[in-house]
């Protein structure tokens, strides 16, 4: 299969998956007892007004009708209401938030820099830290360093992010008072302050996500180091650096890339808890608020965005395999 064909078939698959997700979202919210219109009906709310608001929000329609309206909006754009107060959402319209008075696309675009800063910074930390920890422990198997680092990794895997975050805030924000407790300064405004405000969230997210990399690296390396060809390489008199770096580590590239792509993709769709603890108004916070106020269009839009990112990240990972591993290239 050539690459273009591969990408085409994956894209069709991706669109199908996204369609199913959108349909599921509308169906679930349609079947739930809560009525989103109640949030914007006012207090007190008469039954006539409630019906009007339902019509305006479009939630009086069956779920499949809402889905088609949504899909139609992507192609032709949408108009809500009528007269001087009508609201237009230009094509491609991925939904409109009546609560925030902005299109979902604009909302995601304005929140993405925060989530991007948070995720990418943390990803660099956890990839470097996690892999390094895995390597060191695999080479010193059974030593105190091994147990200590792996013990810490287990803690990292099992400790919930909310707890880690609050502990970080208590210790570094209040007790030691050396780091800001939250907030976001745009990179373009002040790069130093941007990084300063993100150190704590980065570290927290890196601890929560990096531990699995340490364990994976260690496990794979131990397996690889027991292989015949490693023994052969050592027997040939190659330096330990070459044995580990060239013959050992390469085996880990594919599984680590896969994991990394999925993790980064997932977090770009919103690092919900970390954003909440550190008052970072990113995509995760947007989704959280949308859920608690039943802002269906935002929920669907952000969910689709998050799903698309995960799908794209996976596609990139798959495409990278043939570059990273000559054996995969040869088998094509």
């Amino acid at each position: 299969m050539n690459r273009a064909k591969f990408i085409a078939s994956r894209t069709i698959g991706a669109i199908l998956v996204l369609l199913i997700i959108a349909a599921a979202c509308f169906a679930i919210f349609y079947l739930m007892p809560s009525n989103p219109a109640q949030y914007s009906c006012g207090k007190p709310c008469s039954s006539d007004r409630l019906a009007e608001v339902e019509r305006y929000l479009g939630v009086d329609q069956a779920w499949w009708k809402q889905l088609f309206d949504f899909l139609g909006g992507i192609v032709t754009g949408r108009t809500f209401g009528s007269g001087a107060a009508a609201i237009h959402c230009d094509a491609p319209c991925f939904g409109y938030s009546f609560r925030l008075r902005e299109s979902v696309t604009d909302l995601i675009v304005s929140r993405l820099p925060i989530t991007l800063s948070l995720t990418l910074g943390a990803a660099v930390l956890w990839a470097v830290g996690g892999i390094a920890a895995g390597l060191i422990t695999s080479l010193r198997r059974g030593t105190f360093t091994d147990s200590a680092v792996m013990g810490a990794a287990i803690t990292g895997i099992s400790a919930p992010t909310y707890l880690l975050g609050l502990l970080g805030v208590l210790l570094f924000g209040f007790t030691l008072n050396v780091l800001p407790i939250g907030g976001y300064i745009p990179l373009t405004e002040n790069p130093a302050m941007w990084a300063f405000h993100l150190i704590l969230p980065w570290v927290v997210l890196a601890i929560a996500n990096g531990a699995i990399y340490a364990r994976l690296t260690r496990g794979q390396m131990l397996e690889v180091l027991g292989q015949d060809y490693i023994r052969t390489a050592r027997a040939k008199g190659l330096s330990e650096t070459v044995v580990i770096g060239k013959h050992g580590l390469r085996n880990l590239v594919v599984p680590l890339t896969t994991l990394f792509a999925i993790d980064v993709g997932g977090l770009l769709g919103g690092a919900v808890i970390t954003e909440k603890v550190f008052a970072l108004g990113g995509v995760g916070t947007l989704l959280l608020e949308a859920v608690s106020s039943l802002d269906i269009q935002v929920i669907v839009g952000v969910t689709l965005f998050a799903a698309a990112i995960v799908i794209i990240a996976n596609l990139l990972a798959d495409l990278s395999y043939s570059l990273l591993d000559p054996r995969i290239r040869a088998s094509r």
């Binding site: 599921a24 914007s40 209401g81 907030g183 919900v272 989704l287 969910t303």
Partner: protein, 577 residues
């Protein structure tokens, strides 16, 4: 139920693989417990309640006041707001009337843009207000009654609904009016000249001066209105204007130089700048305020301190000195579905009034500082309230009396379904009720659901509960606000709050009579009568009048909470020099 939901149910269709979305509520508890350990606190302190409001003193001008909010955004659109007159929107938007809140005193309605609180015609159906001289918007243009009329009209449009809507059914033609964007005006609001505005009501309405303090009675200049964006940055009439308003980050208010202090009876406008820090985590905010560090020194939290963290505050002398606890406020109650089999018998409902253990209920909510025991429907701090208790018993209840009433009724009760929100405190409170009722052989199952589902279920047309735990703070300090929304038969279902589904023609008539009585003292007598009449039917069990505790930084002064509402007065808070 009047506040934004604070809990966040897990999204059903969120596909992210992030592992951190789970197990949250247990974590909060764990973290808080840990917080106690870290700060070396006794986890079971003796709670006493001697914190009180500052007294109002001189207002120093200057500084930047921070207000920490869990909400990720502030919508300043007066049509869409359900806010109290004394909080966020009150800093930016003036109305015809507003609230004068003083510590230890009942709330008073006072003129704001108007020269008085309204003149009623003899039949109470026509109300006339006149504007003060020299009122200007932030852009220097004069404030006119046409703008108040327009501001009200736009609140009727579907696009801008969602705010406090008491005026909508009161004004003639209001029920059918669809707002100004369709090109029609509401004829029952007349503006004979730029200074005068006349309202024609369907029937006499004694509390109209309070209604005129609601957000929708703020002036909106028609030529500046863009319904989609107005709430981002409205044309200010109050002491502050919106400098920037960034969802998920912060909203910054700066001085409105066109505002004239001499025309404003309540706003003191101390700080040069007010910054709303948005989307803050409640636990982190509390910790920041307890340690009095950074911005928290010059700020306060818009949400009250959660029960779990009150213990920590009580043990920290410094933090405790900055804790302000409201008087007894919102009514927490157990509503019985009066349409359910068995519960349609008044004897059974009275028996449940005796059977409930208010003491264990209160402990589940944080103990003494959580509130005072309740017996009336009109809450303390509301003018005209008469204290009484029809079902006198120890806070622990009167099991014998309950049993004998149940026997008298002859009803065979099945297992009752008790609806509550699924946060830890609510579930603990529900369990306290469950145990208390088990003492008189009433079996209950607890149905705990997320906030959205709770609101939908509790206010649905076809209720799926026998019992439900609710809480109510009136939207304006009149007994009307206590009683009409909860007990008028027109408020059953449809998203409205008569959770006990209580229907009594005599009570409806009393409510109408009290509403239409223009003289406050006379009206108060009728409300007090309605209060008792309803409790004779025992549709609900009044549990406690809840108290809210708020923390402020050490540099904040004039941080006051009146008898009503149980929230601080934003526009009087100032910073020390």
């Amino acid at each position: 139920m009047r506040h934004r939901p604070q809990s966040h149910p897990i999204n059903l269709c969120h596909t992210s693989v992030e592992k951190e979305t789970m197990k949250r509520s247990a974590l909060v508890a764990a973290t808080l417990a840990l917080g106690l350990v870290l700060t070396g606190c006794n986890a079971n302190p003796e709670l006493n309640d001697d914190s009180q409001s500052d007294t109002l003193g001189e207002t120093h001008k200057g500084g930047t006041l921070s207000i920490f909010s869990e909400d990720p955004d502030i919508d300043f659109d007066p049509g869409k707001s359900q806010g109290l007159a004394i909080t966020s929107l009150g800093l930016v938007l003036r109305r015809l009337t507003t609230w004068d809140i003083q510590p230890g005193k009942e709330a008073k309605v006072v003129p704001d843009l108007a020269t008085d609180t309204g003149k009623a015609s003899d039949d109470g159906k026509t109300w006339t207000f006149t504007l003060r001289d020299g009122l200007k918007y932030e852009n220097g243009k004069p404030i006119t009654t046409a703008d108040i009329k327009y501001g009200l009209e736009r609140s009727f449009s579907t696009e801008l609904s969602g705010g406090l809507s008491y005026h909508k059914s009161v004004l003639v033609g209001g029920s059918d009016y669809k707002g100004p964007f369709t090109g029609k005006e509401l004829d029952s609001i007349e503006t004979p000249d730029e200074k005068t505005i006349v309202f024609h009501l369907n029937s006499a309405f004694g509390d109209f001066p309070w209604i005129a303090s609601m957000p929708a009675f703020s002036p909106v200049p028609k030529d500046s209105d863009d319904p989609g964006k107005y709430g981002q940055d409205p044309v200010a009439s109050g002491p502050y204007k919106v400098e920037s308003n960034k969802s998920g980050a912060e909203a910054v208010l700066t001085r409105n130089d066109e505002w004239d202090e001499d025309t404003d009876p309540v706003r003191t406008a101390g700080p040069d700048e007010v910054v709303f820090k948005l989307g803050q985590d409640a636990s982190v905010t509390s910790q920041a305020l307890i340690s009095d560090s950074g911005d928290a020194k010059n700020g306060f939290s818009a949400s009250f301190v959660p029960a779990s963290q009150l213990a920590q505050v009580q043990n920290d002398a410094n933090a405790k000195s900055r804790l302000v606890t409201s008087g007894p406020g919102a009514l927490a109650y157990l509503a019985m579905n009066n349409e359910s089999k068995g519960l349609d018998d008044v004897k059974v409902r009275q028996a449940i009034n005796y059977a409930v253990d208010k003491n264990t209920y209160r402990i589940a909510g944080g103990g003494e500082i959580a509130g005072d025991y309740a017996s009336t429907l009109i809450t303390p701090g509301i003018p005209g309230r008469q204290d009484y208790d029809l079902y006198k018993a120890d806070p622990g209840g009167d099991v014998e009396k309950a049993k004998s009433l149940l026997k008298e009724s002859g009803e065979k009760l099945g297992t009752l379904k008790l609806l509550v929100k699924n946060d830890a405190t609510s579930v603990a409170q529900a369990e306290a009720i469950q145990e208390a009722l088990a003492r008189v052989d009433i079996k209950t199952t607890i149905k705990s659901v997320d906030t959205n589902t709770y609101s939908a279920d509790a206010t649905a047309n076809k209720p799926d509960y026998d019992l439900v735990l609710g809480s109510w703070q009136p939207d304006f300090p009149s007994a009307n606000g206590n009683i009409q929304p909860l007990f008028d038969s027109s408020q059953i279902g449809n998203g409205n709050f008569n959770l006990s589904r209580y229907e009594n023609k005599d009570v409806d008539a009393l409510i109408t009579k009290a509403t239409e009585t223009v003289d406050p003292a006379e009206a108060q007598k009728v409300w007090a009568e309605a209060d008792k009449t309803i409790m004779e039917d025992a549709p609900i069990v009044p549990l406690i009048y809840t108290k809210n505790s708020f923390l402020h930084g050490s540099n904040v002064e004039n941080f006051v909470i009146g008898d009503f509402p149980a929230y601080p007065v934003y526009f009087k808070a100032s910073l020390k020099g």
